[in-house]
Symmetry: C2
Subunit: 424 residues, 2 copies
């Protein structure tokens, strides 16, 4: 079943010459099994094709952006039409106003919108706006939560100074007492609290916060005069058609969005309530391409689809079908497995697998069989993942689990993972 990988190997060799490490960032395959291709040639619907032409049913959706699948016609038509009229210009298109109005009408807490490019732009704007709005310094973040790769938040601190994080203090996710202790330790100087919709760290089970915790976070922000910021860059629109914590009955002052809001076209957003408007008016933030019209046209088309289609129910159904099927297969093959997080953003971790050798072997077998899963990062479903794709996926997973079972005693951990997890 495994296809050729010669072209990918040649590309990696060329890339090592002209790109540091051969590749960088979240799409580097350095920590993945060697069977994973690094370069891709094509994408459509729920599928991607690697540089050698091998197809995969893709459970990463470009690490989130593809909410309706790749090349989704209504979004692509909007982009093509706008590119023909004008994309970047010496000012924004009127579409920017339409898009801000669409967000404000859909996201309960939002009374204004600002657009940018990266998720990190949106979270950094949230931090700066919270400080400008309150005249305070301290931002509270949950330890281990990812909010981007700027010096104040990147998870790998090479090249970062302690002063870059002088205004950031950490608490334990989901622990209201820890959050309250952080507030007390900086009484009168907490500008804002970052809240991740659910706990979605790599190499770890995912967990949803309790309603009590979310309500406590809101109450503490109100008591201490700080702004509550929901970082919905990763989870936005996969949990709800509103800000993710709206399902828990909690409205933030600011929310950061990105990834899927234009089904893969480059735009992110900071949404705010009037409690943060004056702060937002005082900061200076901008970017060369922030006001380009084509990604705004894509976002407008995507928001319409979010309002009017059953995309959310579809991707939950696909995720639940996959979860149920994989659970049954694991039981049949005598593997214990923990499937955590929302079914539409699943994390799959094997039991009794502290160095991930089982999970890695399973993922590698899936990839050989044309199913792109991830062994340590949460995955993403799209509404292009149809029941027949899930059925094909489960066939491949059945084959993969047989392979892993046969080789179980020969498996070795990935050297990078052992180092990463501090096991060696």
């Amino acid at each position: 079943m495994s296809g050729s990988s010669r072209r990918d190997r040649d590309l990696r060799e060329r890339a090592r010459e002209v790109i540091p490490g051969g590749m960088y960032g979240h799409m580097s395959t350095a920590l993945l099994p060697p069977e994973y291709p690094q370069f891709f040639s094509r994408a459509a619907g729920a599928r991607i094709w690697d540089a050698d032409g091998n197809p995969y049913i893709d459970y990463m959706c470009a690490f989130g952006p593809c909410l309706f699948g790749y090349g989704h016609a209504p979004v692509e038509e909007a982009v093509r039409g706008q590119l023909a009229l004008g994309d970047i210009m010496t000012g924004p298109s009127e579409i920017m106003v339409d898009l801000a109005e669409a967000f404000v009408s859909m996201i309960s807490h939002a009374q204004w919108a600002m657009f940018c490019k990266n998720g990190t732009d949106a979270t950094t704007m949230a931090l700066v706006v919270a400080r400008a709005a309150t005249g305070r310094s301290v931002i509270l973040c949950a330890r281990g939560s990812y909010h981007g790769s700027a010096p104040w938040c990147t998870p790998r601190p090479a090249g970062v100074l302690p002063s870059d994080r002088a205004g950031v203090t950490y608490f334990e996710y989901g622990d209201a007492e820890s959050l309250e202790a952080a507030f007390r330790a900086h009484a009168g100087d907490v500008a804002g609290v970052f809240a991740t919709p659910f706990r979605h760290e790599t190499f770890a089970d995912q967990s949803l916060p309790s309603r009590e915790y979310a309500l406590a976070a809101r109450r503490l922000c109100d008591e201490y005069g700080a702004l509550l910021i929901v970082d919905d860059v990763r989870a936005g629109f996969r949990l709800a058609r509103d800000c993710s914590w709206s399902a828990l009955g909690v409205q933030p002052d600011l929310s950061a969005w990105g990834k899927c809001i234009a089904n893969g076209h480059p735009i992110s957003a900071l949404l705010g309530s009037n409690s943060a408007r004056a702060g937002a008016e005082r900061v200076f933030v901008t970017g060369s391409f922030w006001f380009s019209a084509a990604p705004m046209a894509a976002a407008l088309a995507a928001l319409r689809e979010i309002r009017e289609s059953s995309y959310l129910e579809d991707l939950i159904e696909a995720g639940e079908g996959l979860r149920k099927g994989l659970g049954a297969l694991c039981a049949a093959h005598d593997f214990g497995v923990r499937q955590t997080g929302p079914a539409q953003m699943p994390q799959v971790i094997f039991e009794d697998d502290p160095d991930f050798r089982l999970g890695y072997a399973f993922a590698a077998e899936c990839v050989k069989r044309g199913v792109y899963v991830h062994p340590y990062h949460n995955m993403f479903l799209s509404s292009a993942h149809k029941p027949e794709d899930v059925a094909l996926t489960l066939e491949a997973m059945d084959w993969a689990l047989s392979g892993v079972r046969a080789r179980r005693s020969d498996l070795q951990p990935h050297p990078g993972v052992a180092a990463r997890l501090g096991l060696r």
Copy 2:
């Protein structure tokens, strides 16, 4: 000649409800004369159309990105072709390798490339890479030089903490003694020096650095073991087909690029020599859309055009035609004017005009006559600005100067400008 502006006014009113301040960032018209439209509907070649359908010959080129004019066919065809195949995927396209190789082959100092979205991403990566490469903290920047809008560099520090800039020290642009004093003050701890290709501050005459200054900056970096970083985001490819300081005989260790490298499509880059490679391999920087293929296809097509066409000579010719013509008109109308910076990135400031009332009146008259110039920011020419466009521009400017001369004694300064310049 002045067209309708009703739609623009309606849009501004709607925008004030849902966008902080009605608009933000470098494309806000808050500091421009009221005649300037905020919203645009279309762009082609050297022209933009505002939301009411009024056309302008555009001397901002979207604040730089449009190097060959809007909707340039070879670039747009590359984008359309790539969008049909795949844009964002679960990894980069092989085009990323082609693009890194193209940059390395064209930019003398570059031995590797990393791609990102904003100019600020590229300058921030340069800062982090310089610190990672040297194990030192201090970054030297020229006072008043713009390097982006992140907390470490944004020119308006609302929401910024002193600690965000704890590792940044300032010197006087073009003054080798001031630079050397900064090195001595932080002996052994300077990681890098930011160099702007030429001095292009707003509300000020532009100036080119001397060859001696550029050589001194390189020599000091070598003596003190720091990396030299050229911020070519704004000027790149408008001064040379190589890094801008190559014309002065100076090669940096790092250069930051953005704006025009894909003729308006969203991509920026950090290029580096091997002196910075190990540092670049250690940092963690990434973004949801950094590895999208369509903007890389656009950049590849733009780089080909940069290598193979006479775009650079064409835009210099257009700039020089405009400069010469405007100089003659000002003399004929008895206005003193300082035209500074490279002709292809011109700054026009009137003599005896400390509060810019003359410059603002001239710019407003030009806009009424269908020529979009800027009264306080350097402008940008593109290779789509043909001699006939320059001729039409000069006709409009003749008319504009007549108007300003007639109203000269009634002119008032823009209230925001007076405040900005500290005149009130």
